[in-house]
Amino acid sequence: MDDFVEDGREALDTALLSALAEDLDDGYAGFVRAHEIAVYSAALRMTRSPPEAEDLSAETFLRAYRALRGYGRDRVLALRPRSWLLAIMLNLWRNSLRDASRRPQTIPVADVPDRQAVGIDVEQTVEDAETARELSRLLAELPATQRAAVTLRHVVGLPIAEVATVLGCPEGTAKSHVSRGLRQLRKLRSPDLATVHLSALMAQKVDGGES
């Protein structure tokens, strides 16, 4: 399944990169559309704020465009666009953290329900939505590197080799960031979900009793 998805993606990337090499301004819209969900999803996990994630993603695509203006055809065709874009995004995000360290922190809005991407079953059960909200909140509690690693591997779905490239570390290190992040999530998750389910159950009972 993964290989099949990856093959399809590579064919698409090749087509999009050829379009960029042909006419940058003309091809760039398709390139943005193909990668905006990955970039925005990861930006949202890192910034924890939809408006900031939008700014960060737009800035990422602008920086990428500016870099592409200086690239020759061969260099464009050799790009691995997803990991390249995500590396730009993470770099911009780290720089913005450094710049913002003296400014007041923004309030995380991890509890705001996210608009789900196209292609995912819109008729999710209430339970799924709850899980997503809960995970979104828990993910936000992870240390930055683990959060980035888990997001790249399991939200965006990058192969572990590309996660390592984006994080700029060896593959083994990337793997351990991911697994430590997942372990932490499992630990944080179980008691919280139990509480959610219990309170949902109680609310149902109260409703039932009154009607």
Binding site: M1, D2, L24, D25, D26, Y28, A29, V32, R33, E36, I37, A38, V39, Y40, S41, L44, R45, P50, A53, E54, S57, A58, F61, L62, Y65, R66, R69, D114, R115, Q116, A117, V118, I120, Q124, D128, T131, A132, L135, S136, L139, V150, T151, R153, H154, V155, V156, G157, L182, L185, R186, R189
Partner: protein, 262 residues
Amino acid sequence: VTRSNGRDPLLHGLATLTTQPPRELADLVYANWLSVPSPAGQLRVAFTSLGISYVRLEGNMSAFQRDYGDRFQRPLRPSTGRPPAGLLPTLRGRPVKSLQLDLRELTPFEVSVLQVVRRIPRRQVRPLRWVIGELRANGEASDSTDDTAVLEVLAENPFPLIVPCHRVITSQEPLGDYVLGPGLKERLLRAEDVNLDEIRALAANNVFFLGSNTTHIVCLPSCAHARQITRPHRRHFSSIREAEEAGYRGCRHCRPTMVESA
């Protein structure tokens, strides 16, 4: 455990966290261009999600694209929608204040100059030294700010007609350079019915300010109020200091006291 293994609820949950951006990101990254009519001729106008970013006479498209690319480093595409709200009336000479400009790629000094010039009303002109005086009054010019610094900004004005730099005149004849071409400047001012001939005749006699001896208010010669002073009541001044010494105060509309003595 592989990623596609839906049986691990945690991995399944994480995979559902992919999120569509609220707006198409391409709309935030691209600038759009369209062609619109103006008194200066057909214009090509580029605009981003923040507002108008570049205006030039319609000429060679690839030259426009190259200039835009070099200056703004942003992808450009033909607009498929309507012109930004307020653009057409502004170009027809009825400026719409809410017309947004994208000022991101400009320096703070450039923004200050353009904001001062944007307020010069139709049918009027301002001397270059008035622009510098306004900047200094706003604390946006240093002691070293000179004619050249302001002229350089105007020569590269990204928003001609919207920021009416053709209404800034220098002491040189004919009228100083203009970003869309020198001959065009005089044509635009005449089309707006600026009293150019009168201003020139007065300047030839070293007169740069007009006062009314009934109101004791002094104006720049193109000010709507100055043009209402009847001949018998009109007083001529060569400097604002001369007018003030005669007991005149500056008009609050054209602000002649902003003109710096060179």
